[in-house]
Amino acid sequence: MPQRNIVEAINNALVEEMERDPRVMLLGLDVGKLGGVFRTTTGLIERFGDRRVVDTPLAEASILGASLGLALSGMVPVAEIQFLGFTAQGFHQIGPQLAKYRHRSRGRFPCQVTIRAPFGGGIRSPEFHSDAVEAQFVQSPGLKIVMPSNAYDAKGMLLEAIRDPDPVLFCEPDRLYRLGRMEVPDGDYRVPFGKASVVREGDDITLVAWSAASELCQRAADTLAADGIEACVVDLRTLVPLDVETLVKAVAKTGRAVVVHEAPLSAGFGAEVVATLMEEAFYDLDAPVARVASYDIPFPAASMEHWYLPSLERVVAAARRTVSL
């Protein structure tokens, strides 16, 4: 079976879906000849032409608003926002518009739009490029929020996203783009939304994460295992829809949990996870659920990002503390 990293898996998903469905088109900054700043769209303009792979003027609001209109016209747009932080320049087209359009039109105008956007720290990016703002979108009902952490999921969830009749924000963890290859089959398969994956079994504690933090938790679980602590790792995969069942089952089984994310602590999606556990798993808990997140400060300069982001040490320490309670 072919081995692919996340960049290659995304590229492969786009190629296959554009072959399959002539309505699918890509638009965004530098997605053409350059193949995107991370090369996820390499070769697509050569293959599908500049009517289906479009380098747009530099304006996120119009990329997003026009995607909505393209969808209404019968196209299936996949918009790329160069970095998730720059959705800010077009947020009014996402939260209040794209997410709500089905509702605003009383079901007349659903929007089959996918927004792809890389994000995340740890690669010494310039200002605004690393911001993990996924939780900001959770307050936009109507929008699905997809956070793959590996190449297999990235392809399967991107295919699912493009075919979803509702708008989907597909956030790509730039730190993991080329971290390694895994088996990613050619051809059609889908990873359904709202199905968290238990990436590692363990009886002592449950680590809950998504996107790049999921990779971090898997390393933390290795470190903990060396100490005799067996950690279960749950990768939520999608924040909306949230797989409450898998989450609650995995936490109830160990009675202890740590939620890890790259966004600042306060009102990060971890808060939603913990509140859900309070409602659904309170009587199964043996210790307070802990959170390891970035601090409640702006993303710092590259030279300080390692202090800001959740680290292996902090995750392991939080897990040890929670196990000892």
Binding site: L29, D30, G32, K33, L34, G35, V37, D55, T56, P57, L58, A59, E60, A61, S62, G85, F86, A88, Q89, R124, S125, P126, E127, F128, H129, L265, S266, Y295, D296, I297, P298, P300, A301, A302, S303, M304, W307, Y308, E313, R314, A317
Partner: protein
């Protein structure tokens, strides 16, 4: 067709009949800054390749736009609001190059920030976000009766953002004392100018906001300076904003992570080299007897020595320390943030 203002032609001769405002002494200073800009870019790209410098967008090929525009300002009262590719403009305005260099070397400390009294706002990476801010700055300076002009920089790419339109529109309405200086370097990363806008000259957009727009050869430091001075004088006289489109060419990569071979036609690049902004000044000064090999050698040595001094001074700056991570988020941080800070310091000191 819009007239493209020009004085100094690529071959180093002067357009007949033109009378540049810039005198020879000032031109020698402009040349020094342009040479410094070029040599600095080349030096720090080398440092970046060794892992000693952050992501960097050089001003290669754009030196006349960068320097000529900044020289129209009076640093003691006027302001510069940069995008990110105007490094020598900001230096000319008074932000010491060694402090900027230290910042790029990861020393993002309070010691290397924009010093008090230097009228420059921070580099803006969120494209065009600086423009409404610059309009507000100019408007406020005017409200307070200050004799100050704001020079706000933007790339032709960034000018597609909604903030560009909103900023220019508001500046027009308020007759704010501001010059919107666009460097049209033909590229926004890999996106060519023709895909950015269907307007034949970006300068024409000014009409939509009710103020003048001028197109100038951005590789001609004499013409850039002239046009900028006119716009600054207009603003100072209370006549409101102007838009300047400096038509230039990005003679390097977008930034140190970019690979232009994927999208750039080498022939176009070679052609652009013929319009080099520095060479034409040297040719001109040579022709009027103010430049020769001897002067070139001395100037090269001085520039090289200045860059060495700057790099050494930057290296001598203290680096970041954990205690700085939580600084300057709030004047008085909330208790919860203070607790996070204490936990953080305990955790880093424990290692």
């Amino acid at each position: 067709m819009v007239e493209r203002r020009s004085i100094l032609k690529p071959d180093g001769t002067i357009v007949p009949g033109s009378k540049p405002r810039m005198d020879e002494e000032f031109l020698l200073e402009a040349l020094r800054l342009m040479m410094l800009s070029r040599a600095y870019d080349e030096r720090v790209i080398g440092l970046q390749r060794q892992g000693r410098f952050g992501v960097y967008s050089p001003g290669l090929g754009q030196e006349a736009s960068i320097v000529g525009s900044a020289m129209s300002l009076d640093p003691s009262r006027d302001w510069i609001v940069p995008q990110y590719r105007e490094l020598m403009a900001v230096v000319r305005q008074g932000y010491p190059l060694e402090l900027i260099t230290a910042t790029y070397m990861g020393k993002t400390t309070p010691d290397t920030r924009i010093p008090e009294g230097v009228n420059v706002l921070p580099t803006q990476v969120a494209l065009a976000a600086q423009l409404p801010q610059a309009t507000g700055l100019a408007w406020g300076l005017k409200l307070q009766g200050k004799d100050a002009v704001v020079m706000a920089y933007i790339g032709e790419g960034g000018s597609s953002e909604g903030d560009f339109h909103e900023a220019l529109n508001l500046a027009g309405v308020q007759r704010a004392p501001i010059v919107f200086f666009m460097q049209n370097n033909q590229w926004a990363i890999s996106t060519p100018r023709r895909m950015q806008s269907a307007v034949p000259s970006f300068s024409l957009r000014a009409a939509g906001y009710g103020f003048p727009g001028v197109e100038v050869d951005g590789n001609d430091v004499l013409a850039v300076y002239d046009v900028a001075v006119e716009a600054v004088e207009r603003a100072r006289a209370g006549e409101g904003p102007s838009l300047v489109e400096a038509v230039t060419y990005r003679m390097g990569f977008h930034n140190t992570t970019d690979n232009p071979s994927r999208y750039l036609d080498p022939a176009e690049f070679e052609e652009a080299k013929q319009r080099d902004p520095i060479q034409r000044v040297i040719k001109y000064l040579t022709a009027i007897g103010l430049w020769d090999d001897e002067r070139q050698k001395t100037a090269d040595q001085e520039v090289a020595a200045e860059i060495e001094r700057v790099v050494e001074a930057a290296q001598a700056q203290r680096g970041v320390r954990p205690e700085m991570l939580f600084d300057n988020v709030y004047e008085r941080p909330p208790a919860r943030v203070e607790r996070q800070r204490a936990e953080f310091l305990k955790s880093v000191n424990g290692h």
